[in-house]
Each structure stands twice: as C-alpha cells, then as structure tokens.
Amino acid sequence: MNQPERNPLRRPVTRRDTLRVLAGSGAAAAAALTAGCGSKDERTTLRWWSPQASPDQLKAYKAQIAAFEAANPTIRVVFEATSDEGYPAQFATAFAARQLPNLVTHLPSFAAQQYYAEGLLEPVDDVIKAIGIDRYFAGANEVYRTSDKHYCATGIGNTAADMLWYRKDLLAAAGITAPPATWDELRSAARKMQRDGIYGAALPYGMNAMTSLIFIGFIHRAGGQVFSPDLQVAIDSQPTYDALAFFQSMREFCPTGASNFSWGESLTAFVSGSTATGIYSGRVLANVAAQNPAIADAIGCTTYPTMSRDIPAWTYNDFPCLLIPKGAPHLAETKAFAASLYQPQLYAQQMHAAPGHVLPVLRAVADDGFYRANPLITRYAAEVDLMTKAATAGHNLGQETAAHKPNLKANEIIASNAIAELVQRVVLNKENPKAAVAATAVRLAELMRA
C-alpha cells in the first residue's frame, strides 16, 4: 500500500516544533534585553518626592529638573508623587525598607522635626548656605532649627492654609459691608447668606488630618493652646470648650456631608459655589479661575475670624519644606539639586504653578516683577499679599507659638486623629465636651509619652 507523500509544508506542528519556537523566542528576547542593557542610562539617578503634584506643578518641576540636568549631564532626576494624607505611611515604609528618595519637598515642618529627631534626616545647613540665608524672609528657617543647632529642613514655600474665603456678592446681598472678624459676626453672616441651596460655611468635621489641623487653629483663635510652651498637655481649658461650641454652632451652616470633609471636599464646596464662605489656602484662586470663573470677581479672603477682636489672628502654615533623608546615596549631588530649585526664575515658576497656594520663602522672589506678573497674582494682589504676611507669621502644632519648643510628636498626634475624634464626639455625637476634652488630654499625654 502506497503511503501518501507528505507535504513538508503541511505537516502537523509537533511538541518539538513548539519547543523550538519557544526557545528561539526566548533567545531573541534575551538578546534584545542584552542589547538594551548595553544602552542603559549610566547617569546617576536622584529620586524626588512631593505630595504637591498638580499638573501645573509637575510642569514646573520638569522645567527645574531639565535645567539641572542640562547643567549636570551625568545626573538624572526622577519625580515621584506622594500624598498629603498618606505620606506618613509612605515614609515609614521607605525608611524601613531603606528605599529612600534622595530629596523630599512640601512636607510639613513638624514631620521634618520628627524624622530628624529619630536620626532619619541629613541636616541641610549646606543647602541653606548655598541658597543664601539672607535671601529668605527673616526667620523663615527658624521653624526647622533643631536642638543640636542644625537645620533639619528648609522652607520650599509658605502656605496660609486656613484663610477665610468669602463671596463679596453674597455678603452684599445679605447687607453685610465688611468681612466677618469675629466668630459672632461669621455665624451671623453664615446665617444670613445660607439660602437658595447655598450653605454658609465649609468647615471640616471629618475623621482626618484636615479636621485636626484646622481645629487646632480654632483653639488658638479662642486664646488657647494644645500644649504649653514646654509641651505639657494644655488642651483641657476654656478656650477649647469655646472652640468646640463655635464649631458645633456652625454645623448647621455647613453642608450635610461636611462630617466627611477633607481638604478636597472643603475646597470644592466653596469653589463650586455651594458655600458662601470657605476655609482653605490660595489654591482657591486657580481652582475658581479654572472651574468656576463666574464667581472669580466676587471672591476675597481674610485671616479667619477669632473669638473676639482682642485675640490676635492665628494662621495655620504647614511650612512646606525640603528635606534630605539620611542614608540615600549621592548626597553631594542631591544638595546641589536642592539648591538649584531656588534659582529665582525657576523658583518663581514653581510658585506660579499654584499661585497663592505655595507662597515664596525668598524675599526677593516675592517682590520680583516676574513673580508678580502672574495673571492670578496680579488680579488678587491684595489677597496674595495678605496670605504671604499671614503665612510668614503662621504656626502649626509643631511649634504653636514662637515661645513653644518644637513638638516632635506633632506628626503622630495628627496621624492619630485624636483631635478630629474630639470634634466628632462633641459635634456629631453630642457628647459632653468636658468629658471628651478630658479623654483627649489623656490620649495626647499617652502619645507624647509613647
């Protein structure tokens, strides 16, 4: 019997054929990878972390990176975004795993103080010297002074994070001629302006860092403090009860969802026109221009009202800073790159990326024509100047007043949400303020001891 002649082109694919193809593909892939290795970027890589990473800010950072890389061809810089609420976790794991970024910017001053105290940061005295300490606003770096007479960080900007933003048109419609200066005036204005689906205020009542950070300001605006200058717990006092009572009285003028507000929701509530007043930084300016230009001519800001006129304003400035983790490689290159970020024109461009939100720490830049030529800074010159002044004199839990010692536990106190919980217990759960404050005082003492 004749076997049919096999067509070699039509024979079935065998397992051996398949293995051959796989082996060939693998070899080709390996060759390609090897060839790729040959063209590997040999430059030194610096990693830069920041929680401030809006599209415009990223563009400004890229310009700064490009300028530095052009001047230093053997170095490349990679930017990586972190988050405002999540940075403590990101840093804890980065330090624990020794996968450190070379440079970090826009973290609050109290985080820098804590990390330095734990031996996790390099002092940045060299960087400040390279930039020129005389170019900063007077005392701009004092908040970064450490007990061993070094600087744990240096300011990359200032932020007046709890300004009172208001709608001039709604104030006028309510028959109010001047922005509120006291809590009674603010409450009265909020009551009058709350109508037609617009709420009076956008205060945060959520279980998050914003509520803690903002409420600390209200304690100070009632004349109180969370800790005494020598860092004894001082929250259990009449000003705290007054601040809680005010916060409680304002709840009816805030949106229903304010009990879950964090920074984004609070900002959007005012920018969208859902509230007549807001509490935020200069980020409002760019967001109104981009998202709700119809109200752009009607907005203004002032320092947040105090309980009475004889109590001075207290502005929350997180003192966004630049810091260098200890143990990251290429320290000299990192310091050179850090100093390059303050090159006046590029630094001003970085400020332009979030006009009014991140305010300059370099005096010359703040007064410079190029910086002030930004359309939003020009349009809202009075507001920007006020925020610059307020932020320069601002404070945070890391150092509540100039008389306070740096609080190295501030970062963990904010992360614990102990103060936000106090607000929620009293305002949302209607718990007895005295008992709630006493419990918070105990909790704060525990955190300070931990």
């Binding site: 976790a89 804890a92 794991t93 624990a96 734990e118 959520g206 279980m207 879950n260 759960n429």
Partner: protein, 309 residues
C-alpha cells in the same frame, strides 16, 4: 504466610528510597514558597508583637506581652472587634442574598444571558480605589445623584448624610462592599447550579412542588456545600477588608466604622508602632482561627453524621 519482605523483588527498597527522594525534591519548591510567603510572615508578625518597634527604623526593645495586655485592656480593640463583626456579617449577608438571587436569574434562559453573565463580573474586576471614588460621588450630598434622585422623587426633603453619620455610614459601606464582592458568589453559585441534575427538578414537579418548594427542597440543599465554602472564604476576606472602608469613611464618624484592619494600619504607619500593630494583627488572626476551628468542627460532625447515616 510468605514473608512480605522476602516476597519483594531485589532492589525494591532502593527504588522506594529514590521515589521518596524524588517526591521530596518535587514538593520542596512548594514548601519553600509557602514557607517564604506564609510561614515566615506569620512567625515574623508573632515575633514583632513582643517588641516595641519604631516603624521607620524597625528598631525597638522586647516588651513581652505588654502589647497584648495594652490592647486587650483598651476599649478600642473590643469596640473595633464588634464593628468588624457587624461589617462582616452585614456585607456578607447582602453578598449572599444578592449573589444567589443573581445566579438564579442568570441560570434562567433570559435574553442577553451571556452578556449579562459577563457584565455582572464588572464590580469584582474594578479597582477598589476607582469604585470608592465613584460611590463617594454618588453619595455626595451636594452633587451626588443618589440624594438628587431621592429628593426629586419626594422621598427625602434634604440630602441624607450617607457617610458622615451613623448608622448610615455603616449601611453605606455594607452596600458598597456587597456591590463590589457579590460577583464572587455569583460565579461560584452559578457554576454549581449548572451541575444540578434536571431529573431532581422533574421529580419534584411530579410530586407537585412549586417554584418556592423546588428552591428550598432541591436547589438550596444542592448549594449547601458551595455556599459553605463561599461563606467561609468571604468571611475571612471581609473580616480583613481594609482599602474599601479606609477610603470610604476613614473609620468615622468617630469610630463608627473603625474596623481592626484600620487600627493595624494606623498603629503601624500613623503612630509608627509596628509592634503594637503586629499584636493587633495576630489578635485578628486568632479570632479568625476561632471561626476556622468552629467551621472544621462543624464540617467533621456533618461528615460523621453522613457516614453514620
């Protein structure tokens, strides 16, 4: 009776030894991988729980059982345990009810059944972060469609505070959890439904059973085994659910939705107390172990009862 050893062919012992060695060699990679990804982290967590450790440096000192004493003595642990149990039972119940109902529906000969079977998996495949963002907008009091629809329908006069008040916040996360994870129940139950012999239903019809009786007397008993497994797995997964709750409510209002995994995260990365976080995590594992043992005991008892019958 012939001697067994004497009856064995020469060289059999060496062959068995070689087989045994080969078996050990083949199973070794599996044991190594399981040891690296399960046993080592488990032992490491238990070890860490006896120390006070600062997370960024992983440096600390031995404190013995102090972490356990502190956590068991604090109201926070017990309150979070109760909250975790409420969340787990609530969302699991919804997942089972919706999942079984949907599986029964998709088992019917309906129009676009294949498309529907594909689409029903969508929530399960969606990233939790994306799902939470969408749901937070739906729940938003100022712009959310949920409040708008309810107000337009005249059901509510003012926006409901879905995520910032209790019990709304807990109910909301239970619903979102059920929406996200019910497809797992659908997949498992639908697969089992397709293997139930049609003859059982025919016999039930002949006996005069209606649809409800057929469901309770035929379908449900047939689903018992698969539902037991599904409930066990989903209980474990829901008990340790973190991202959905953290992103939806952050544990608030006050501590209304603060479950144990949220405390573990806060202890480890907020307060930088890795030892205490490990103590919480080990305690969670012990609680799950209780569930697991209860399940195994019940399964053994059922198995013995079936054998006896």
């Amino acid at each position: 009776m012939p001697d067994a050893a004497a009856a064995r062919p020469p060289g059999a012992g060496a062959l068995e030894r070689r087989d045994a060695l080969l078996g050990m060699a083949l199973i070794a990679p599996t044991i190594l991988v399981l040891g690296a990804v399960i046993v080592y982290p488990l032992l490491s967590a238990i070890y860490l729980s006896f120390f006070s450790i600062y997370t960024p440096t992983l440096e600390g000192h031995f404190v013995g059982l102090a972490n356990y004493r502190d956590l068991l003595g604090s109201g926070g642990f017990w309150s979070a345990l109760v909250t975790t149990a409420i969340w787990t039972v609530g969302t699991l119940t919804l997942q089972i009810l919706v999942g079984v109902g949907m599986a029964l529906l998709l088992h019917q000969n309906i129009l676009f059944r294949s498309l529907a079977r594909g689409l029903v998996l969508f929530p399960y495949f969606l990233s939790t972060v994306v799902a939470v963002l969408v749901w937070r907008w739906l729940f938003n009091d100022l712009y959310g469609i949920l409040n708008q629809m309810l107000m337009n329908a005249g059901i509510i006069a003012a926006p409901v505070n879905w995520l910032g008040a209790m019990p709304n916040a807990m109910l909301s996360i239970m619903v979102v959890g059920a929406w996200k994870f019910f497809p797992f129940v659908v997949i498992a139950v639908l697969a089992r439904l397709q293997t139930i012999p049609e003859s059982l239903y025919e016999a039930a019809r002949i006996d005069g059973a209606g649809p409800v009786s057929r469901f309770f007397d035929v379908t449900l008993p047939q689903l018992r085994d698969v539902l037991t497994i599904v409930i066990l797995l989903r209980t474990v997964w829901d008990f340790k659910e973190f991202d959905l709750i953290y992103l939806m409510t952050g544990g608030g209002p006050v501590n209304g939705t603060r479950t144990l995994p949220l405390i573990v995260y806060n202890q480890a990365f907020g307060l930088n107390q890795m030892g205490m976080a490990a103590a919480y995590a080990v305690s969670m594992m012990l609680v799950m172990l209780v569930f697991m043992l209860a399940y195994l005991r019940r399964a053994n008892a059922r198995s013995e009862a079936d054998s006896a019958a």
